[in-house]
């Protein structure tokens, strides 16, 4: 035990002070006031109340004496051997360049050496950097499996800000701990107290930066784009369909770039592209998957004569990507002669001729260009015929003050009103008629359930859209390349942020595969391994040398004393309250 602090000895004077305070007490009536500072200074009252009382050895008195004693011990820094422990928190840079084989091996080796060299290590924390920092090894937990934590570190992220992770590490390390940033980059500015452990291994590297299927008159082609960083060896791109190798294409670099087309292999829907092995494997793979089918379901509730007059079959024949829906509830686009009850994701088109005498409008027409429904409409040479009808909602097409098309605001879904007599005029025979239906089908396509895309960049979000009616809570699980599964949140549209490169699968609640998508790693700054750093940078120490190295966590005494002090104060307060009551 050591008790040599002058502060502690001085604090012990609080014990006789408590006794004196209990001897000399004034008993004036109390009044709570809101602003004591408003009362002017005044000499202490003399003779108000008793100046001296018999010392009452009440429980409150003993509590206060004990509290003063404990305070003295706490300030004196009572210990029973050993001095403060010094935690170490390692921040592992999770950016992809750290996944280069040589760099990763060197980093693991240096991390293990750093842990072993940390004198008097009592607590060890390991964090993985990222947009959301991840604790691989919590320094607050006593049992530490360092190897398991390091096995989970498989760097694969695009470039990201490590500041958040360093801040978290600093908090976990406390005021006296060490924070070490394990990276192939220098420690960012503003973190001078962080030690940098350089692990970079400069190397040449090539990366696939793009692959897509391009339709062409003479058949589809595959477009491949790649970048070379440094003097890479002869590189080839291998095209694979599943495990079957289809072709091996040598890459000709031009100023470090390659951008070329090859014919799309016959009879193949999906391709995997593989660059020759190099320093970083993550950016050597790309997938080209077919775009997800997003077929719009159209429910036709028009009377037969109106359907014929509107030429619906002819018009829809010119629009790709739709199917007829037998049930109105399944459709994303509904054609009707009278308003119904559209669901949340439906567009309902109501064609109403109007009442009374027919009016013919030959323009000029004013079209609201802010809506996607009217994109490309010209109405040049159109004669639009309709009867009288007051259309609700926002006017989309007008001829002077006469509203011919409008969008009615609805709680669920959207409704397009067309004030149109299909048996007269020439709108349905004009080029604008299929353009309008093309726009409507395209708008409705956004509501089609299923995946939003088949390819996504690592670090980006990909969406899954559920069916409007009763589909909000349907289970959808994403199965990542490493076997991890994540269930999507409930809601009409749920997103998933791809954190790994490779093929992912969408599964339903029963484990059936619904679709696949590929996540590509594309980040030139991480693929460029030429300027990585291998140099260490010592951080500015936050505690003086010699402090904090320890074999035992001595905070325990201070914690116990602090808790005891708190308990005594609470007990004293409670006793006084009871007495006053």
């Amino acid at each position: 035990m050591s008790f040599t602090s002058p502060l502690g000895l001085l604090a012990l004077l609080a014990v006789p002070a408590v006794v004196v305070l209990h001897l000399f007490r004034n008993r004036l009536p109390q009044r709570a006031v809101a602003a004591l500072f408003l009362f002017p200074p005044q000499a202490l009252l003399a003779g108000a109340g008793r100046t001296r009382t018999r010392l009452l050895r009440t429980p409150s008195f003993w509590c206060e004496v004990a509290a003063a004693t404990v305070l003295g011990l706490w300030l004196g820094g009572l210990t029973f051997g050993g001095i403060e422990a010094r935690p170490l928190v390692l921040v592992l840079d999770d950016s992809a360049s750290m996944g280069a084989k040589a760099t990763h091996e060197k980093a693991l080796q240096r991390v293990r050496a750093r842990i072993a060299a940390h004198t008097g290590l009592a607590r060890l924390g390991i964090l993985r950097s990222g947009p959301r920092p991840e604790i691989l090894l919590d320094p607050r937990e006593p049992a530490a499996d360092v190897d398991a934590a390091l096995r989970r570190w498989q760097p694969a992220r695009p470039r990201h800000d490590v500041g958040l992770t360093l801040d978290l590490a600093r908090e976990l390390a406390g005021s006296d701990g060490d924070v070490v940033f394990v990276s192939d980059e220098t420690v960012p500015a503003g973190h001078e107290d962080v030690h940098g452990l350089g692990c970079g291994q400069p190397a040449a590297n090539a990366a696939l930066t793009g692959a897509e299927r391009v339709p062409g008159v003479d058949g589809d082609r595959l477009r491949v784009r790649a970048l070379a960083f440094g003097n890479v060896a002869a590189t080839t791109v291998t095209l694979l369909a599943g495990a079957r190798e289809l072709a091996r294409i040598p890459v000709a670099w031009s100023d470090g770039r390659a951008d070329f087309f090859v014919p799309w292999p016959v009879g193949v829907d999906a391709l995997r592209l593989q660059l020759s092995p190099d320093a970083l494997a993550l950016d050597d793979v790309a997938y080209v998957l077919p775009a997800p089918e997003r077929t719009v379901a159209i429910a036709d509730a028009l009377p037969d004569d109106v359907r014929v007059a509107l030429g619906i079959e002819r018009v829809l024949a010119a629009v790709p990507g739709w199917r007829a829906a037998s049930e109105r509830s399944e459709a994303q686009l509904v054609l009707a002669a009278a308003p119904g009850e559209p669901s949340a994701d439906q567009i309902e088109v109501v064609v109403a001729p109007g009442e009374g005498k027919r009016l013919a409008f030959a323009g000029p027409f004013v079209i609201d260009r802010s809506t996607a429904w009217c994109e490309g409409l010209q109405l040049a040479g159109v004669t639009w015929v309709a009867g009288e009808l007051e259309l609700p909602g926002r006017a989309l097409i007008t001829a002077g003050p006469h509203v011919l098309a409008s969008e009615e605001p609805l709680d669920l879904g959207r409704r397009l009103w067309l004030r149109l007599d299909p048996l007269a005029g020439n709108l349905v025979r004009s080029p604008d008629w299929p353009v309008l239906f093309h726009d409507l089908v395209q708008s409705a396509r956004a509501a089609v359930p299923g995946p939003g895309a088949s390819q996504v960049a690592v670090g980006s979000e990909i969406a899954w859209r559920r069916h409007a009616r009763g589909g909000d809570s349907v289970r959808v699980v994403v199965y990542a390349p490493d076997g991890r599964q994540q269930e999507l949140a409930a809601g009409r549209t749920a997103g998933f942020v791809a954190e790994q490169a490779g093929l992912h699968r969408w599964l339903d609640g029963d484990g059936r595969e619904l679709a696949t998508f590929a996540a590509h790693f594309v980040d030139a700054s991480e693929s460029d391994l030429r300027a990585v750093t291998a140099a260490d940078r010592p951080g500015v120490p936050r505690v003086a040398p010699g402090e904090g190295t320890s074999l035992r966590d001595t905070d325990i005494e201070r914690r116990v004393l602090a808790a005891l002090l708190l308990m005594l104060l609470i007990a004293d307060w409670w006793l006084l309250q009871r007495r006053e009551a």
Binding site: A34, L38, L45, V366, D368, I397, G400
Partner: protein
Amino acid sequence: MNEASSTAAAAVATIVARHRLAWHRRRHRGRIGGQRGFGSGSSQEFHDFRDYAAGDDLRHVDWRGFARTEQLRVRLYEAEVAPYCDVVVDPSASMAVTPEKLAAAHALAAAFVGMARAEQAQVGLQALGRGPRTLADLAFDAPQTTPERAMAPLRAGGVRILLTDGLWTTGPGSVVASLAAGAAHFLCVQLLDPWELAPTVGDVLQLVDCETGERQERRLDAATVAAYGSNLHRLVAELRGAVAAVGGTFASVTAGPIAEMFARDLLPPGVVEPA
């Protein structure tokens, strides 16, 4: 709900039914409603013309002008909105220094919220330095001797009402300015206890500051009370001046029954008006 609180709630409901906040001559921002708003909207009051832009309602196109000039211009009408109203309450323990002041603070907060809701306003209630609150969890127990800032964002173009006793050791200028910034109108209601306004002369007391816990023994002779009154007057004048500097309305209210506070302290300065 006990009998006392149900009686207080009934009194507040009666007051809310008979009064409204005096904000009708001002322009506000908010959802569609019945008060004059900033900018253009869908009322019947013609406001201005401007060039047509994609997305404008084609029904508002000036077709006669189009026939003359072939330029598409739209008619603009005044907006009618349900204003935003942020009631900001000082949660310091000094607001609860006496049961009367505490009851008055709760009643006034409830009355302001009730009157704003009666006008279909979007009402936000928050405690300075603490963030959003409901009337049920409004507590006056913060040991604040200096004014804190509003934690939750205040909605631009709305009405803001500050309920405080203003008994701060530092000047209220900055907090008043921050609360009034971007508001259509700012109201400051200072609530004080009768004893705070006029302490009893002759008492000898141990005064306990309800926020700091500091204790001092004082003989409240005439000179002490006069000096206290002078200090309090200076503090009130500072708050009144800060509110005037931002173009707000100030009212000093003496804690008491809600009906008395409205009739005596809030109607004359035009904070509220008969419904």
